[in-house]
Symmetry: C2
Subunit: 349 residues, 2 copies
């Protein structure tokens, strides 16, 4: 199966996302495979058996969001120089979202930009990170604050690599699938309520649907001037939760699950969403054992952290809120009082 990603901005090359189509990969240029220790030990042999290239090297990073930093970026770049990659060389991101984002970033700045392809090995990366060309690293100020927009040459989503995914990681991916459904597609949401996507056939359908939805959104708005921001539903809260917990307590998708519940609470409070719909979302998240609550230590600190988020242009916080299921509203004029009221509900004495 093949889904085409096109862009309105003509200079950006279009590319395709292939689902279960990876037979052999042949390149006549030097290739560097960027992966992590976990993925490498589980799946590198499989990948190498399908790769036909003149010359390749493997750069292996530690596994985890906390390694999504300048040091790892430099490890990738230095590895590329060590192996004498040039402007025609290709990077292959072989891992989850962290590997994908960092590899894309490295590709975009290595000798002012070279090609890369994505072979995402987590559900989250397959349905979310693989489409859209956002690259980046975290720093002490927050998540993905440094990066570029750089589109891959192709994306290969292979279900075989998901077989070894721990249940928590799988569920973290489901959170992003649910996110897509809540904001863009009522029918898909209802379908999700009635199908357990831990089953292979349903999983493949859910991946396809998610990639298609995201591709549609990104095509309209590559650089996030408008509708693409809706993909950040739940993320405004999630980024702060991840930062407060040093990226150690929650997987990204888990933080997004909590973030969606928080955003929904705000949406209910402001009258955009009915309580019953908010509960349906929460129920679906719980079906996949996703967390739906969080203990805020200081509501004031949490609130202030919003202003470090890169979406807060001109010191206004942009909230993406569901407006019934399958619809959304973008608000940047919500009063501090309203937000604080929700945040305080999460402070437990």
């Amino acid at each position: 199966m093949k889904i085409d990603i096109a862009f309105n901005e003509t200079a950006t090359r279009s590319y395709s996302v292939y689902i279960d189509e990876l037979q052999t990969l042949s390149f006549d240029t030097k290739v560097a495979i960027i992966t992590n220790t976990t993925v490498s030990s589980l799946h590198l042999t499989t990948l190498l058996s399908r790769l036909h290239v003149k010359e390749y090297c493997v750069i292996t990073l530690e596994d985890g969001e906390k390694y999504k930093n300048f040091d790892s970026l430099n490890t990738i770049l230095n590895g590329c120089f060590e192996h004498r990659l040039d402007r025609k060389s290709l990077l292959i991101a072989f891992g989850g979202g962290v590997i994908g984002d960092m590899t894309g970033f490295a590709a975009s700045i290595f000798q002012r930009g070279i090609d890369f392809i994505q072979i995402p090995t987590t559900l989250l990366a397959q349905v979310d990170a693989s489409v859209g060309g956002k690259t980046g690293i975290n720093n002490s100020y927050g998540k993905n604050l440094i990066g570029t927009f750089w589109q891959p040459r192709a994306v290969y989503c292979e279900s075989t690599f998901l077989k070894t995914l721990p249940p928590r990681e799988f569920s973290a991916g489901v959170a992003e699938i649910i996110k897509m459904a809540v904001t863009f597609d009522k029918d898909f949401f209802e379908w999700l309520e009635n199908h357990d996507i831990r089953e292979d056939t349903f999983l493949k359908m859910a991946i396809q649907k998610s990639v298609e939805t995201k591709a549609r959104v990104v095509a309209l708005d590559e650089r996030e001037g408008g509708v693409r921001a809706v993909l950040n539903y739940g993320h405004t809260f999630a980024h702060i939760i991840e930062n407060e917990t040093n990226y150690e307590t929650y997987l990204h998708g888990e933080a997004v699950a909590i973030g969606m519940v928080m955003a929904n609470a705000l949406a209910v409070k402001l009258g955009f969403l009915d309580e019953q719909s908010a509960n349906r979302v929460k129920t679906l998240l719980k079906c996949y054992n996703l967390p739906t609550t969080y203990t805020i230590t200081s509501a004031e600190n949490f609130y202030n952290a919003f202003f470090l988020d890169k979406k807060s242009a001109h010191s206004r916080i942009t909230f993406i809120l569901p407006e019934k299921i399958g619809g959304f509203i973008i608000k940047n004029d919500i009063s501090k009082e309203n937000v604080m009221e929700i945040l305080k509900e999460y402070v437990h004495a």
Copy 2:
């Protein structure tokens, strides 16, 4: 005076280079001025007197090519986060090529890309670095090996900032002007032979001519797939010289002067350039006290260093050679023997 820079690739915004047109600069966004200690002490007051913004901060780096590295890049980025710049904020590069390249790079990766403007304070930066959108930093493998293509919103070349330029720095800028003339414009070269551009009126004309020439080249080939490579005449050699001398012995323009003489020797050897023309170039360089020779320690090491240059796609060295004055030839099939013969002439026992 205003020179428009347009691009064939439609998604890249066009912008203008203004020569002696900077009266006041007004912005309604947060601004970070990136400068170095030297420029700051000489000219920051002048700049600030012309700047009208809501809020600004100044990030001051050490002065010198050896600071064009990841650490300085992080100083800029962290300063931007400290001062809570957001996606609508603007960076101003206020300094020479090093400041311009690093500020442009920082702008291109801060929150996945924000605007920047250039106010180059050296002749070299005004005639060369300010046009074309190349950004970058050096690392242990070479010069500008990490970076992006990111166009400024505008460039302001002010002759007032050149008044304090030390003669060596001025001449380094002249080297790039001569480079432009040798490869693209016979008439301009002859004009240079007959006019001392240390004189104000002639200087302004030379800046204009150089910017126009570079703008024309860059417009045809933003990402250096073809003709833009010609701007690297002299640079293939220069990068190695700079690297071998730790960026301490020569200013970039001085290394380019030597590099042009070396490239000319190769061109003469291969029969593309007559000896008399090579001598005219050398004479013009010497008029501005530019160096025209260099002692190579090991011709073999020098040769091998070519392969680390990012222009050496697929391990072939690309040489830009003048083919008579005002013309060029791009060669990537020159034998090692021919190159080594030239290099050995620079090895002194």
